[in-house]
Amino acid sequence: MFAFTAISAFILLESRDVVNGFLTQPYATALLLVLWGYDPVPVLLIASATQLIYLNRQPSGASLFPEYPFGFFIVTSAAGSGQYSLLSYSVILILIMTVSSLTSHYLKIKRSFFEKHRERLKFYKRFPNIISAVSFSYLSYFLFSLAIWAVIYTIFKSLNTLNISYLGSLDGRVLPVILCILLSSRYIYFNLSRRNE
């Protein structure tokens, strides 16, 4: 649990605050989960769907941007290994979008709080200091990840009891594949129509 939350906090730090080298995108962290022993098919399916959902979004200015690299990793890691049902895939994708959006709001609160107390949290001797900024940011992300992981893990534990139902017995792969098809179609349509503007 602590390993996943520590990595999730690092993912949030890298994707939002430092380096920004696309090292923690879902296509990369999905392979990390596969190395960890997770079933590759559902993990890569969810990663592909997540990437395509947010492909058209771009972080811009002070607007809230869904933190989907973080959302993908923390939800998929908490979901556990194994084949997923239609219900599981649905819940995972909805949770990823919810957590991503929630994290963007958390970031806004965190930035405002850090700015209010910048002398203690971001500065050293009244000048921006990288060690203070990175340490306190990472700590806040770690605590946030811990809380989110606990909630999501509880949700998936209770979901396992529902998997004996009808929805729980259907092959869930159909959902992310069809979602990817629809999202790709929408993306190409959007790009071609923007070209004509």
Binding site: F22, L45, S169, D171
Partner: protein, 215 residues
Amino acid sequence: MNKLSRRTILSLTLRTYFIRIFYNYNNLFGEGLCYCVFPFFKSCGVPKRDDILAKHLVTFNTNEYLSGFAVGIILKNSESNDADLEKTKNILSSVLGSIGDRLIYRLIFPVLTLTTVNKFVISGFKPDLCTWIIIIILMILFNLFNFYIRYAGISKGYEKGLDALKFFRSSGYKRTVFLLTAARNILTVILLVELIIYLKASNILLFFFDRGLKL
């Protein structure tokens, strides 16, 4: 002095990787800019942090990937009066933001993402050695580009000032944008076709309806 030493450029470049951690809603990248430019003033023998803060801790916006250009150009104009420096920062805020968003988030990032997702589909969502190699190579290539554009931005920005931005109107740049746009669109169409083939080949729909009918 029209050129910075390599050591200073390298120090400034590494600092631009952390420019975003200081982002806030008061001055946006103002604090990050102060952090980034510090090595320049240290090398000039002016380690007065209060002076740097007084001059640069104002509202400033940029794209993190093109922050090298911003830093280089601002350092070039650092000796000018406050009004001219303010004007330069305003130009940089609008120009670099839009160029960076278009180049990175609408072109380079989608091409990277679509390439990897295509490879996932081709491999049937079971990563083979080829998938690993492709992803690692793409990440290395992007981060080499990430480093280069920051380093070159600082170097050229300091040499030429605002004229360094003319690069984004050059025919070479326009050709690159065209190629990336074409690659993005082609990869999306290929992905669509591959997904449909995967859906048919893996009999997911058949299995899905079969279970549904049995009930």
